[in-house]
Symmetry: C2
Subunit: 288 residues, 2 copies
């Protein structure tokens, strides 16, 4: 993993009219549009969405300047803010587009494999990206220009990715406040299985036993713990399936931890239980 | 379960100087002191703490008017804001105190049993209470006068508990903004095993596999999901042990849910996975 350094480069600007196409005008696409507009990175933002109402809402909210049916050929940048399973088809359909194409998907390896399955190499102007930012809210009305500030954005370029495309994408992400990291797609997928996919799986599993009476007697801890369980189930089923192998591996590790805690509790082994909880609590610095 | 109704009674006031003793001047004791002062419920608040520095801090912050070594005999109300394992010894030591003694412990059945093990009946002026409010922060400096607003407070009186004591405690909790519910201690313990103790256990188990590199690449979802894992491990080991049986039962249910999700994922059964996540997501209305 390397860090390109926040100040090493700045976003490339063209003297001509620079335009951004945002494919998918939901929370992340809308937030990126809002953030780059705030920074003045592009002169024109075009929105595309499979859902015409969502695109119309993004236009109404001023997130995009125009709604289009196809990606304009002159777009300097094309953001694919669509669910991970939809990324590969878009990348394939844009393989001859001259702009920098970059996505926001939470799974990288399976998407890259899927693009390669249909063509000999990855398009050199495609930069696989994943901004680790989000919300249980969705849609253009939830767009937040500051959603990427201080967050990690992981780029997982492949050998055929053009350095100039990597630099351009990295520059845009830095311009909206993110910390850019480069790493291999497989490493990204292992990390995200632990930091994001497993917590979502757990929250969904846990909620199965929660009923209306339970909800009457919950505190802030429950609200926080289950917030990710209110996420879009279809989107998350897709993410789990695409990143199945690393996710199942992270789940095995968790089951081992749960078994050890259960044994200590069942046998009322106070010292073991205290030691396990103390170790776990240290893993999460209290940072709000 | 019954709800006494927020407006059915108001807090009892004495024409003489009414005083409150707060045993344990941490987050919950300090917050109750701050909240009742805001409401003008007591003329004088006395603080006690096993940790003299914490008591001094509560005094410095104006949460209490005075620090004492023992509970004043004239206190109309004695709040035991100590860890669950410390409640029974305090109730036993105050069995002849004329004031209403009430606690905030997250486990009720084991505490009541522990009091009964040393004396024939529960003191009639002791009202077992549990405000479902908290924070991963702790100490008097984290005290928040609004922490109980809109939160459930469960009272689990026993047959020998005096109705006047129940009404007094219920009135104070309502005065600080809480919704008061009455139920059996065993029911409380089953509910809380699901809504609070199991999520804490899970967060601790999950954190075992999180390392420093993971923490570099986390979003708001991770922060929310693991916030309860930053809670005091010693306090929570005590809670888990006191409520072991209902907690182990809730854990078995969760393991069943996890196994079903794991099987659907391992066999890439998309329909099963989608259906399970959709059901779970419905259990948690998106309420922030």
């Amino acid at each position: 993993m390397s860090d390109l350094g926040r100040d090493a480069t700045s976003a490339p600007r063209s003297a001509a009219v620079a335009s951004l196409a945002v494919v998918g005008t939901g929370l992340i696409g809308g937030s990126f549009a809002k953030a780059v507009r705030k920074q003045g990175l592009f002169d024109r933002i075009v929105g595309l969405d499979a859902n015409p109402e969502r695109a119309a809402e993004a236009l109404r909210l001023g997130l995009v300047d125009e709604v289009a049916e196809t990606v304009p050929a002159e777009a300097e940048a094309v953001l694919l803010a669509v669910p991970p399973a939809a990324v590969a088809p878009w990348v394939r359909s844009l393989s001859d587009h001259p702009g920098v194409v970059f996505d926001v998907g939470s799974v990288k390896g399976a998407v890259i494999e899927s693009v390669r399955a249909f063509q000999p190499g990855l398009p050199s102007r495609y930069v696989p990206c994943h901004p680790i930012a989000g919300s249980e809210r969705s849609g253009p009305q939830a767009a937040d220009a500051d959603i990427f500030v201080g967050r990690s954005v992981i780029l997982t370029p492949e050998p055929e990715t053009a350095p100039s495309a990597i630099e351009a994408a990295a520059g845009w992400w830095r311009a909206v406040g993110a910390d850019v990291h480069l790493m291999a797609a497989t490493r990204h997928d292992e990390l995200l299985a632990v930091t994001s996919h497993l917590p979502h799986l757990l929250a969904f599993a846990y909620l199965e036993q929660v009923d209306a009476e339970h909800l009457t007697h919950v505190g802030a801890g429950f609200e926080d713990f289950t917030r990710i369980g209110a996420a879009d189930p279809e989107l998350w089923a897709g993410i789990f399936r695409l990143n199945r192998t690393p996710l199942l591996a992270a789940l095995q590790v968790l089951k081992g931890s749960m078994d050890r805690l259960e044994r200590a509790l069942a046998h009322d082994q106070a010292d073991d239980l205290n030691a396990m909880l103390a170790t776990a609590a240290k893993r999460r610095p209290n940072r709000g």
